[in-house]
Amino acid sequence: MSEWIAIGALALVAVGIPLGMMAASAILRPSVPEQGKSATYESGEIPTGSARVQFNIQYYMVALLFVVFDIETVLIFPWTVIYRSALSQGASLATVLLPMLVFIGVLVVGLVWAWRNGAVEWVKSPLAKRRKTERQDA
């Protein structure tokens, strides 16, 4: 009973505040509906067509790369936790730093490879495209 009350109260407050704010603004603001306001927000552009469009494949490629490289940084986390205490306990800088450098190095090789193979180019250059089609035709 005891220690969970605080958490329950916190949850209650966390839900209550936004609800209260929305309620307050709904009461205070004037309501003037018009077409421009109900349109989908597209950074000022006028929305055309449906939202179900096929994205360029490069979009997914970058997304994939992001997921992978982003998650790899999680592995740096435990290292940072022990880094300082390991140094202070007398481990040499090489023992502590080198493994992480190797790890980053491997990631860099992967990134360079992906870059060179065009995975991070937002739009493929016409030159590369032409080369590719030539090779396929050959």
Binding site: V109, W113, G118, R135
Partner: protein, 505 residues
């Protein structure tokens, strides 16, 4: 650790014991670098040659270590590294030999197979990374490294199966392999978490020592053990985690099928051997966690299902896929015939030796399929009619593989199967050997169909073979010679296997 490497030139530092894995990984990275520098290059000979040399170098180093006794009792016992997360001993080196030689054969054979494809560097580097993962699997001494190395071996494999990305079969195979693989790895991870919950450690030796304290958690531990078994069963293509295997082997590029069905399967056994023998030793288990019984059930079901399904296939590659499942059942005897105080090292060693022989004969058989695919001949038994007259050398090699897989006497497969069954009987499990023998009898039926089609049937008049690809031929003949040489060389092999297995108990 006191176990320094005893070499003629004085002891090397301990960390060099993992050098077979390092060599494989560095070669893979090197291929990436080459591809980064010249991403449009299609210099297949350079890429295939480099990866073959890398694999063979790793093979050589592992063989040298094994001969010199690195990590074995003679030189101070197993070498533990990275807080006991990895261990290099005779068994890991023995399995490294299997992975590296299979990888070398596959790389050579792929020289012709991928010559027309794009993204060749990726192909070879993925093979090498998968081999690295397998090598690490055999060295894993903790469930954490076991899981990571298992994934390191699996992830490149998924991509390799999908390598022919415009081929529906290849894509479908990859999809099934991946989905079942993802499910299995989730089960495996959950199993690890349960074992951790019951014992509070991931290191195999610590798990073993805290088994006695796991009172009240027996159920949790038991479920965890069975789920671990599921993860290994996926890797070794054992029932009921085998469903991916027929499709993945059939749809994948044939060299990759060879790689998966030989090396990847052996890797699954390598890690299963170590985890079950080290972490859950017989005699210290709480009552109710009887993994030996589970393996007995799986062994019998797996070999029966594999052989029966193989007997009725029309497609040779799919027949080999099912036969590969059947062979997983034979190798499972290595874990199924263990008893507290029994001749366990003999059983386990026999299973390891069988996996080595199997590495040669099965890789060879799949590479022969690659050769046939290269020629554009069909996939069914009928399509193989009369191949013997057109390509006698390759067909002789294929006949050797088939007879050896069936376990006919003058070939390597006979001895390994014989010793395996013998050791099972020796351990008191005569019925396992009996089921194995009956299944072997059945297997002769479908293996001999291939031989019959190649040599006895007449070729279709339209049968035309193209050129004789050098790489594929080299690999196939090499595998055949290996299969034959393992007959006279079987004594050192079985001796080594049983010696290194002794160190586990």
């Amino acid at each position: 650790m006191a176990g320094a490497l005893a070499l003629q030139s004085g002891p090397l530092p301990d960390w060099t014991a993992v050098s077979p894995a390092l060599i494989l990984a560095l070669t893979g990275l090197l291929l990436f670098v080459i591809d980064s520098i010249d991403s449009d290059s299609d210099n297949t000979v350079l890429l295939a040659g480099l990866s073959t040399v890398g694999s063979l170098f790793a093979f050589g180093v592992a063989g040298w270590f094994l001969v010199e006794g690195t990590g074995q009792a003679a030189t101070g016992g197993a070498i533990s590294l990275y807080g006991d997360a990895l261990v290099v001993d005779g068994m890991s080196l023995f399995f490294t030999l299997i992975f590296t030689i299979v990888a070398a054969m596959v790389c050579i054979a792929s020289l012709d197979y991928v010559a027309e494809q794009r993204h060749q560097a990726e192909f070879f580097s993925l093979v090498l990374f998968a081999a690295t993962g397998m090598t690490l699997m055999s060295m894993s001494n903790s469930l954490a490294t076991a899981f990571i190395s298992l994934e390191l071996a699996s992830l490149p494999s998924y991509a390799l199966v999908a390598y022919l990305k415009d081929n529906r079969g290849s894509v479908e195979a990859a999809l099934k392999y991946f989905l079942i693989g993802a499910l299995s790895s989730a089960v495996f991870a959950f199993g690890i978490s349960l074992v951790y919950a019951a014992t509070g450690s991931l290191l195999l030796s610590d798990i073993a020592s805290s088994l006695g304290d796991a009172d009240g958690m027996t159920g949790i531990l038991g479920m965890g053990v069975l789920m671990l078994l599921g993860g290994f069963a996926f890797k070794t293509a054992s029932v009921p985690f085998h469903f991916w295997a027929p499709e993945a082997y059939e749809g994948a590029p044939a060299p990759i099928s060879a790689f998966l069905s030989s090396a990847s399967k052996a890797a699954g056994f390598a890690i299963a051997f170590r985890v079950f023998v080290e972490a859950f030793p017989l005699g210290q288990l709480p009552a109710g966690v009887d993994w030996v019984l589970a393996f007995q059930v799986l062994a019998v079901v797996t070999m029966t299902l594999g052989n029966f399904a193989a007997a009725t296939q029309e497609n040779v590659k799919r027949m080999l896929a099912y036969s590969s499942i059947g062979h997983a059942g034979y190798a499972l005897i290595g874990l199924a015939a263990l008893t507290a105080g029994g001749p366990n090292a003999n059983v386990l060693g026999a299973s390891m030796a069988h996996l080595l022989v199997y590495g040669f004969m099965n890789t060879g058989a799949f590479l022969f399929i690659a050769l046939v695919e290269y020629w554009g001949v069909g996939t069914t038994f009928e399509d193989y009619n009369g191949l013997g007259a057109r390509a006698p050398m390759a067909c002789v090699a294929m006949s050797v593989f088939m007879f050896s897989l069936a376990g006919l006497p003058p070939f390597g497969g006979f001895f390994s199967k014989y010793v395996l069954f013998y050791s099972a009987i020796e351990a008191g499990f005569w019925w396992l050997a009996a089921v194995g023998a009956v299944n072997s009898a059945l297997s002769l039926f479908y293996y001999s169909r291939v031989v019959k089609a190649m040599w006895i049937e007449d070729a279709a008049p339209t049968l035309e073979l193209g050129s004789k690809p050098v790489g594929l031929y080299t690999a196939v003949i090499f595998a055949a010679v290996g299969t034959l040489l393992l007959l006279p060389a079987f004594q050192p092999v079985i001796e080594t296997a049983q010696t290194v297995a002794t160190a586990l108990f």
